[in-house]
Amino acid sequence: MIGQQIFNGLTLGMAYALIAVGYSLVFGILRLVNFSHGSVYAFGAHAALLFVGMKLGIFPAILMSLIFTGVLGILIDKTALEPLRKKKSMPIASLITTIGISNIIQNMLTATFGSQKKAFPALFDFGVISVGKLQISWTQICMCIISLMLMLVLVLLVHKTKIGLAMRACEQNPKAASMMGINVNFIISFTFFLGGVSAAIAGALISGYYQIVYPNMGYMAGLKAFAAAVLGGIGSLPGALIGGLLVGVSESMAATFLGSTYRDCMAFIILIIVLIVRPNGLFGKKGITKV
């Protein structure tokens, strides 16, 4: 049973990791916890549901939802966050703004789609394979593969390309970055686009796995993914992956040994323990404290 539970946890962890990437991307450039990300994820899932309903075929539908959600990300940045940056406001103002945005998106979803849980078609449903006593479904395997690929693409993008270097420069010192000829607002919007796309991928994959979609789906998952991102060292993409897996497995273990009702705080207990030992998360860079 332990084996099965660990595997359950890993799949769940992949789901968290997928969402956590979005937090890390935006945090990695703005030092901002984007609380609207959970809602953007729910939006992505609903968009996919909507386009699937239009009978475009499942993959075109998902592609459409990726684009729409990416655009939503840009929209959030352009309408609400960029003006704040222009005013050089405190970071916390942006945080509150993202909470507001989260409210707007989530309640708009409820108002248009209703609060009830809706069925989502299964993706990659090629049945189950048994390895010894383990039952592994193809959906799970595909989810893992796609997450890993996404992660790899993003890591390469951030660390090996010029735009990635620009992203890191903007995070460090936006003023100096613009002096170097970097269009900071474009880079930030681009990051939000990536965040939106990753949220939509997460939305489609996770909905396809659980076959459920509802406006509030990003709430708890979002918080835990955020915890996972921080656990791994927020801003670090591999950190998001490891953090997500760790949270997933520990939840699964908690559910097994303590009972499912404790699982929601498991992510946070692990998080607190890790942070006390490593204040910047597992892969987080230490802040520069030279005086």
Partner: protein
């Protein structure tokens, strides 16, 4: 254009401050009278309930403001402290029949201890890392409240929490007593915050917020002040929690969700963090708005979110979050001493 507008703003703030400074006494007296007779002007219990709720949220915001507005530690889990205060007080009141004030005090002590337990290990954390730990704290407290059935009654919650009473007089919304109780507590907390800020404690808080390293180099014991801020903040929020529990008469783990934490934080930021005045306006707006907009139904919280976004968009420093433009206030004795020194010097020169 923009600059001219800002220039005007600046003058308005200075003018406003001078105005308030000059008419301190009449303003204070008239608002006190207004607040005191308020329940007699209005017999509508619903409105009175809302007003009390606004008051409770002001206390909560004042509590969080110590930590976030002054020390710069952003907490996303203050619902946890509220829960500790509310649960401790209500359990003591319902199970042991303890009086309101005693049980509130116990709630505050428990929250204070929780403040230490949370504050100490997280000293090394900063920024987002601390915020997420506080968030986790809030969730953990909620989970404990949900699962520790034998004590907290689990998801069934605590029912029939008695109203506070003084000398056998039950303070309820109906007889206005609850309102006055809220008023007194609010006054005490406000004064407490005021005197704390106007002392070396307040300065140490601000120093830690703006530059922790420089603060350390001034000999400030950062550990002590951070933990102190946690404790004060926790105690104040716990007292509000106890008050809240006896207002509603029923609590369960879902009373203390993440949304409560973000609500308190939003009040602090929207009002203007690091100010006392801001907490009042922030709470009034954010608590009354959802009530006023009931007719919007489904779109109520869409509009609520919109308000948050717009307010931040146009006043990111918070509605009343300006820095005082008045000269630094010196006490009379200092002015006298300085005058003295100056004239001495002049004498010396002329000699």
């Amino acid at each position: 254009m923009n600059d001219i507008k800002q220039k005007k703003n600046f003058n308005i703030i200075l003018y406003l401050e001078q105005f308030i400074d000059r008419f301190k006494l009449p303003l204070a007296v008239s608002s006190a009278v207004l607040l005191l007779i308020f329940p007699h002007l209005l017999t509508n219990q619903y409105i009175l309930t809302i007003v009390v709720k606004v008051g409770i949220y002001i206390i909560l915001a004042l509590g969080l403001n110590i930590l976030t507005g002054y020390v710069g530690l952003v907490s996303l889990g203050h619902a946890g402290f509220v829960a500790i205060g509310a649960y401790t007080a209500s359990l003591l009141a319902t199970r042991l029949g303890l009086g309101f004030f005693l049980s509130m005090l116990c709630g505050m002590i428990c929250a204070g201890i929780a403040g230490i337990l949370l504050g100490l290990p997280t000293l090394r954390l900063s920024g987002t890392y601390l915020s997420i730990v506080t968030l986790g704290f809030g969730e953990i407290i909620k989970t404990i409240a949900m699962n520790w059935d034998s004590v907290t009654n689990g998801t069934l919650g605590v029912k029939n929490i008695p109203s506070p009473s003084i000398f056998g007089l039950k303070l309820t919304i109906a007889n206005g007593g609850f309102y006055y109780l809220m008023l007194v507590m609010l006054l005490i907390v406000t004064l407490f915050c005021y005197v704390t800020y106007k002392s070396r404690t307040g300065r140490a808080f601000l120093a830690i917020k703006t530059d922790e390293m420089a603060g350390i180099m001034m000999g400030i014991n950062v550990t002590y002040y951070k933990v102190l801020a946690f404790v004060l903040s926790a105690c104040i929020c716990a007292s509000a929690g106890a008050l809240y529990a006896s207002l509603i008469g029923y609590i369960d783990p879902n009373t203390f969700t993440f949304d409560v934490s973000t609500m308190i934080l939003s009040i602090v930021i929207l009002g203007g963090m690091g100010t006392i005045r801001g907490m009042f306006i922030g709470s009034i707006i954010l608590i009354t708005f959802p009530e006023l907009s009931r007719s919007l139904m489904d779109y109520r919280f869409v509009v609520y979110g919109l308000i948050l976004v717009l307010m931040m968009r146009f006043r990111p420093q918070g509605l009343l979050g300006w820095k005082s433009q008045m000269p630094y206030k010196l006490s009379k004795s200092i002015t006298r001493k300085l005058e003295q020194a100056r004239s001495d010097k002049q004498e010396n020169l002329s000699q």
